[in-house]
């Protein structure tokens, strides 16, 4: 009975702790969208940073980048945001680690810079008879021209001889 009471108390304590420490549980950084074609813009948001504590710093690391981006706006849903333009970025996956103005860590996230659009992976099968049609029309035209000349020569043999 005593053990049961202790277990229940512990469970209630853990539940209350989770409720009372949402900041610690939900500290996160969001990158939206998580995939962008090179040259696109992504929005970095540190959801738990308090704007009153100063700007958040987003450290972006990846294939050819190790840069710090300072937050520029307060996010609509809370926290701080910055826009990141990916022109010139090497294709690949980047990690964003955020630090709030008060120095506290605000989590990390990744985003992927991809090629633009789909894959140009076809040239059209050229074996569709177009070439045969063109060559056939040329030969037939030549034959008709020759037949006309022959017919004229037959009608006017003297003129043809002259």
């Amino acid at each position: 009975m005593k053990a049961k009471t202790v277990l229940v108390s512990a469970a209630v304590g853990v539940g209350l702790g989770a409720l009372l420490l949402p900041g610690a549980a939900l500290a996160e950084t969001i990158v939206s969208p998580a995939t962008t074609p090179v040259g696109g813009t992504v929005v970095l948001t540190a959801t738990t940073c308090n704007p009153k504590s100063g700007d958040a710093i987003f450290r972006v690391t990846g294939p050819n980048r190790d840069i710090n981006v300072r937050s520029t706006t307060a996010a609509a849903g809370g926290g701080l945001s910055a826009e990141l333009f990916t022109a010139g970025f090497t294709l690949g996956t980047y990690t964003v680690t955020a630090t709030c103005g008060d120095g506290s860590a605000a989590g990390s996230a990744t985003f992927t810079v991809t090629p633009i659009g789909g894959a140009p992976a076809g040239a059209g099968d050229g074996t569709d008879g177009t070439g045969s049609l063109a060559a056939g029309a040329t030969l037939l035209g030549t034959a008709l021209g020759g037949a006309l000349i022959l017919a004229r020569r037959r009608r006017h043999p003297a003129g043809a001889a002259a």
């Binding site: 998580a34 894959a119 099968d125 569709d128 045969s132 056939g136 022959l150 037959r154």
Partner: protein
Amino acid sequence: MWWRRQAPAVVAVALLGTAGLGLIASGLTAAPTRPPRPDAADAPVTARPAPSLPPLPRADPVRVEVPAIGVRAEVVPVAADAAGVLEVPPLDRPALAGWYSPGVSPGETGNAVLVGHVDSPTGPAVFFDLGRLRRGDTVRVTRADAGVATFTVDGVAAYPKDRFPAELVYGPNPVAGLRLVTCGGRFDERSGDYVDNVVVFATRTG
């Protein structure tokens, strides 16, 4: 008398005419070879529950085999051109497949991407029959470390190129996935390109 003098010319004209008619007839009957469209029943669904396979370390893929459609192709690395568009192997080598090397390699955690031509001016190319694959078909990728990663197809679908599913193809995946990409749909003579991309979605199963 006239016939004798003109006989060679008459024969030449007759031969030209016959050959021309023959070529026109063959041109009219030769239908363009168009790639198969994916079956709607094989549209991608949620990836199969992946077996508990440990991810493989990074290693370049060197060969891809798709037994269901008779593909056995050498693989070369590709990336993107200066405009940011995905590169494909050169058109004069249509039997090659390309591996998107900025991404993960086949067998690593994430989506590895292989791209290949559907056709070339000389006829069907390496991934011509990709749209014929069905859920459950197998894709085997031989890696430079001599390992072989085996994938099972989860689905096949065609997407307009202006709505290419970049997130599904290049985006994150908690398991080792594989994406095979080629062209499909209608060939637009004006742009010299197909209007769709066909994408095969697969998950590593061995």
